[in-house]
Amino acid sequence: MYFANPWGLLALAAVPFIVFIHLFQRRFPPLEVAGLFLWLNDERVKTSGQRIDRLPVTWTLLLELLAATMLGLLLSQPRWIDSHLVQHVVVVLDNSASMLARDGEHLTSCDRAVAEVDRRMRAAGRNARVTLIATGRRPAMLAGPAATWEDAATILADWSPQDTRHDFDSAWDMAQQLADSGQLLFITDALPEGGTVPKTFEVMAFGAPAANLAFETARWSLDPKSLQGNLYLRIKNYSSRAASATMIGRSVDREVVRRSLEFGPGATVPMSFDVPGGIQQLVLELESPMDALPTDSRITLIEPQSRTLRISNELPDPFPGRPAIDRVLQSLDGIEVAASDAAHLRIGTRALAAANPEDDRWRLTIGPIELDGPQQAAAVQTAGPFLMDRRNELVEGVSMEGVIWAGVQPTESIPLNPLVSATPYVLVGQSMESPTPHFFLNVDLSKSNLVESPAWPILINNMVESCRDSLPGLRQWNYRVDELITFQLSAERLGASATPLLLKSGGRERKIARAGTIEIPPLLQSGVFELRDGEQSLGTFATNFFDAAESDLSQLAKGVIPRDASQGLSGFAVSESPQWLWLILIGLALSALFADWAILRRDVRREAL
């Protein structure tokens, strides 16, 4: 036997109280007399000085003790355990950020989910076990498998869903594997479409449609010359009604910006404004009574840093294509023309390949590869078809449509990894001999229309940005929560130590393996993070929640989809106390109270005589 409500046993504390009362109570008022011996027989006179009498075992005492015991048992709800039943509840919790949206009662679906699990576990009794699984791109087991409710409740109290929109299938699969014969419960804030949830699940949705305002995007750019910042924001009203809000931006304790905003139904308000340089961090908040979800109404941005790329254009002057190179470089931000020694990227002729092979800087060789000789004579031109390695970021967004690639020379003498080719010629390739990227443009720009096509600036820009990405440090400072974070460690720091780096946020930290290019998987939570190498800070970045699908709360709904009883899993079994037990307990308690009352009443009458 166990007690579904053990606190009810506190009622049994009444038992010693009753004994205490019977032991110490003065039933009659005191009266001092002389000659007590005249009133009583000798044997009834008590010893002088005694103040605590022996407990009188009276019917009243026994009946009151019986009533208190019965009431204590009633309140504690005794249950019988069937030892053959494994009571196990596997709960899949929707970890989407919309679970934190507040409804009309200022409760979140998250609150209601916790209360529902708590209710079920208390009903199941203390021997029941629970497994808690949070959905997400990577489902996480919050508690379990088969944890006690005491342990799980502690973990569940700290649960705060923050994920962007994601599929639940992997979490459902994990739950079914763990459920065995237990009950499967999926708690979310919107009823899934029919048939998407496995029939073995009981589904409970606690959401309610609500108006919401959210940041759709935020970008902080920096003018490398003036070091002044510019913020571009887009804020959306996810409601069918007009809304107003105040946007406040603070840096530490200083208010940097405050805007009053008016939104039409479903409208998006873009804005751009300058921010002073050097403020390092900016927290933007939306204040509006129509904002149900705080998660997407508060973002933290880190001030970007200048990552100027130094480029040396070493093409002879005049040389075909040199003006086109200069034009593109002048149009790009964060570029500085530098001497050959100080450049991160060198652009030149075939002579670059013959330069110091240990030079670890990026290089771009622009054709013709051979200015004379048989290869020059064998050069051809082609209009395609062009084959591009789309995996390489260098050709990202590049379209060769309409391009006449001329001056194409055979490249058998140069081992190249083809990025753009027109069989059998490699048009754009990366040297396989160089440890650092060395690209070849197998083209004669004096004969080709490449520089006049849209592909040309895109190709050069991709190369410049790829080279910029290889510079040490963070490539950007503000990310979405589901975005990959990339960090380039300098060669000096890479070889300086073997200890892992630390990623810190608030009071938490995690180790990051030391590597040249560090890729941190999506952190899936908002916050400010600092990457440290021992005591030295390598960089600080922020992640923010931007997810239009989660910010739109209009589709949230309440509802229940019951489990399909025909499925193989056995139901959740709760051993209820039999009705006759309740009747006996209640009957005994009432009978004892009535009998006690009758005895006391009789005594009062006798006393009156």
Binding site: R26, R27, F28, P29, P30, L31, E32, V33, A34, G35, L36, F37, L38, W39, L40, R44, V45, K46, T47, S48, G49, R606, E607, A608, L609
Partner: protein, 285 residues
Amino acid sequence: MNNDPDVRNAVETFQLGLPRLPVAGRSGELLGRAAGNSLEFQEHRQYLPGDDIRHLDWAAYGRTDNLIVRLYREETSLQTQILLDMSRSTAIGDGAKSRVARQLATAMGLMVGAIGGHPTITLLGDEQPLRQLNRGDFELLVSLEPKGRISLAELTMRQRVLLKTHSARILISDFLYPHDATQLIRTLAAGSTLFWVVQVLTRFESDPQPIGGRKLSDVETRDETDLRINQISIARYRSRLHRLQEQLRAEVVRIHGCFVTVVAESGLMEICQRDLCKAGILRPR
């Protein structure tokens, strides 16, 4: 206590009910009621166990086969010893019992003094030796509170009461303590020329009424018990009290003394007029 209005009123209204004998001298000025050793024959009566066999009238026995005792009037001296119970039991209730007991003792002492006697009041309390007040000290009775825990029976058994021989003796107590009446009275009356006993009770002690359940606590012994004071328990109480009083009365009468019970709440004057005059202890001036 000399200046107590009730006491003064009583002294002015009443005198002790002693037979006067017109003889000269200090001794024999007053005649006691008890049989004594004087030569004045008083009366015959039936022999009772305990009587001095020297006083048997053998001639009468020879004539009648009945044991007859010859009683002689004893001469009393002016020495009067008033024994006042100062145990806690006399302070019960609202203090009426203690007040009346002290008033009685004072009034009787003053009455003795009024006829030229030498009264002393012996306070039967816990003090050892027992405190005695002479006539000039009676006023002290006003401030003396009855606090004794030792009952008169125990004092007597321990022989702590110093009794003056050939003195008139007046005992004032409630007698609400377990005792052997025979031993108590004979001890206290020994050597006295006159022995009066006044039992002072409260009205509740004398005539209790049903008051329901009470936790009774003995003021002297601190014994206690729960009891419903109803008609049944009252009847039992009265029976026991009556037996106690009859035993005392029999012992006192045996020595030609006088026993009377008074109710304190009646007040001194009513007690004197109704109870003590009726018993012959007092008579109007």
